[in-house]
Subunit: 402 residues, 2 copies
């Protein structure tokens, strides 16, 4: 019997995707239904519900649950849930009781059907203030909420698509059922998830290796949904992570995998959601570093640590592994953190993301104290390729002095 943590609020996963004949029949029926176009974030949420990553949700939240999740991080039935999972529309035609087809707004593919149990309006500022702690439009999560339609639609959904993730990412894309089967097969009972939307440098290796020391295994779990502009694309990132694993990790201690959600950049609330769905993937621990899932300076560096101390003890089974700033320290002679290194800033190598991008875009070497050479090489090749594209563009536009 599996010794993994149970799914969130349920003794088994609840994937909402149909398969086989019922999928074929539902797809046929869906073609005739009124269509609701979904944003990238909504598509990610639908695909996630399809694979059971949002167990035990059965669809999009209604008004009272939206309110309760905003205000108390719990649903009316007492279930812990830190961020509203909602669907919106501007359609005046759709009414309560209608059955609708949910389509990917970018591709027009039908991805789900839903029976509308409620159509309601929300105070978007309230969602932004409670979940994102701001209503500023410089916050990409706020932008997503403010861009929502006038109405939210609640209801149970049947998911009819895998969002093309398996085809696009192959074995890198695993469902919660697949990761659980993988962990069981390896005999892992305790697994730490390492959330990332970036390549892994030595500091990240340090965090992952501490988790390897104290857990049976670590899952490097990458965002495969939407990101901010300027973030490194998923294929480059996963190659950089793969070379790190190949050269610096022990077999059977680590798994690289990805999940279909968009980043919301909700900081502490998103850290809780990250923990919640990693529990569904079978993980016992989530690594939470400085400013987890944050953006700009909207959250304090340890808000995403502290929020785990204020939720009720039985909110989640998964535990959090909290880490401080990490860096190379010459006096320590290795990667250390603010918790383990007593030396001064002059002894430390601390590069910002901006500095790293500058070094790479100038085709210089990342220091070995910051990045493994194998990882640096993958990133150099990628930056060289962008540069070439830039050059082409520059040439076409004849901005030669740029």
């Amino acid at each position: 019997m599996s010794k993994l943590v149970p799914p969130h609020g349920s003794d088994k996963l609840k994937p909402l995707a149909l398969e086989g004949d019922s999928l074929t029949a539902e797809l046929e029926k869906a073609k005739l239904l009124l269509k609701v176009s979904c944003s990238s974030r909504e598509v990610g949420d639908i695909i996630m519900m399809g694979i059971g990553g949002f167990t035990p949700l059965e669809g999009f939240m209604d008004n009272v649950n939206w309110q309760s999740v905003c205000d108390n991080m719990t649903m009316l039935n007492g279930l812990f849930w830190p961020i509203p999972i909602t669907l919106s529309t501007n359609s005046e035609d759709i009414k309560q009781g209608d059955e609708v087809a949910l389509v990917n707004g970018e591709t027009d593919d039908i991805i789900a059907t839903m029976v509308v149990s409620e159509k309601y309006s929300i105070d978007k500022s309230h969602e932004c203030n409670t979940v994102y702690k701001t209503t500023e439009m410089a916050h990409p999560g706020v932008v997503m909420v403010m861009a929502q339609g006038k109405y939210n639609l609640a209801g149970s959904i049947k998911v009819l698509s895998d969002g093309n993730f398996p085809k696009k990412y192959g074995s890198l894309y695993m469902t919660p059922m697949e990761t659980r089967a993988y962990f069981d097969d390896k005999g892992w009972n305790t697994i730490a998830a390492f959330q990332t939307r970036n390549p892994m440098h030595r500091s990240h290796e340090y965090l992952a290796k501490i988790a390897v020391e104290i857990c049976d295994g670590v899952m490097i779990h990458s965002v495969l949904g939407g990101l901010k502009d300027g973030d490194i694309p998923a294929d480059v990132r996963s190659e950089a992570i793969a070379v790190l694993i190949e050269n610096y990790f022990v077999d059977n201690t680590i798994l690289q995998s990805g999940y279909p959600l968009d980043m919301r950049y909700a900081g502490p609330r998103e850290a809780l959601l990250h923990a919640l769905f990693r529990q569904n993937y079978g993980c016992s621990h989530l690594i939470v570093g400085r400013d987890h899932a944050g953006v700009n300076d909207y959250y304090g560096p340890f808000d995403a640590h502290n929020i785990f101390d204020v939720i009720s003890n039985d909110a989640l089974v998964i535990k959090v592994l909290k880490f401080d700033w990490t860096f190379w320290c010459y006096k320590c002679g290795g990667i250390s953190s603010m918790r383990t290194c007593p030396h001064s800033s002059e002894d430390r190598v601390l590069l910002s993301g901006t500095e790293v991008r500058k070094i790479l875009s100038e085709n210089k070497e990342l220091p070995e104290t910051f990045s493994r050479p194998e990882v640096a090489k993958v990133l150099q090749v990628y930056y060289a390729s962008i540069k070439n594209e830039d050059k082409v563009e520059i040439k076409l536009n004849d901005h030669s002095t740029k």
Copy 2:
């Protein structure tokens, strides 16, 4: 209110030491009682009971509890206890119901009184086979059992001595009440204990720092009782640990302290006892490395890990942090373990205790990949001082070619 783990099998510590007037009166009375001379191990156990380190024990075990602890690692009342805590004598005069004075066999000081509730004989081989997994006299723990008197004496004790530990070790020696007060004062809720009878090299620093990362604090907890010949004396060891802490740890993350027991070298069973009494000291975790509390090849390198998986879930509140071999790896560029380093033995610096002693006794430098220079220096000074003593001895004995 303290958020520390509760003492073992009790909601509060049970120190058996008397204080003030009752101590004075009991000491007076004890002078008139029949004396039982105690071995070094028994003295350590008495002092430990005096400070509440063996909470909730009230004295030495009787025959049925001895049997039950040997066979099932539990006492008759269901309390988990991995190693018999017994007192022995060869005296034919002492009888059940007698009140006796327990004296330190080395100093003749009265250290406790006891009302004898039972006088019984044990099958010493049975204790050795169950607890030490051997009856070979090459095992120092077996030697201790075999050297016991013909009879065991059971009974509640009143402890009348601090074993001179506070005077000898000053603030290094802390009682469970003192460490708990220290942890509360620092606001630490989770504390990992690092058991040691040796100076700490970089590998040990690595283990302690992982614990610093995941707990509020770490207590480096040294044996101040009896050791094997050839082990480094407590004062040298604690100085070597102090320079490591001073130069390589962050303030308010680490405490060096010591406890009064002798080593039994019982490997896995002793690892359980180490965990049990660390819980009394207020620790939430115990670091258990390779061959914890082992001697020669009597135990498999991970027996002391595995035994924590077979005891019942509610045996202990304290949790174990299990670690594999650790070493410097040139390819990793730092200290790693068998769990985190995928490279080969040629890339690693692995020095045995024998090699370290050889380097130091030849007054050579320990490599920086093995030991921090500040630590190495303390050990070099100590080895130079022994060498000088050797030279004096050699001169006196005229063994000049030695």
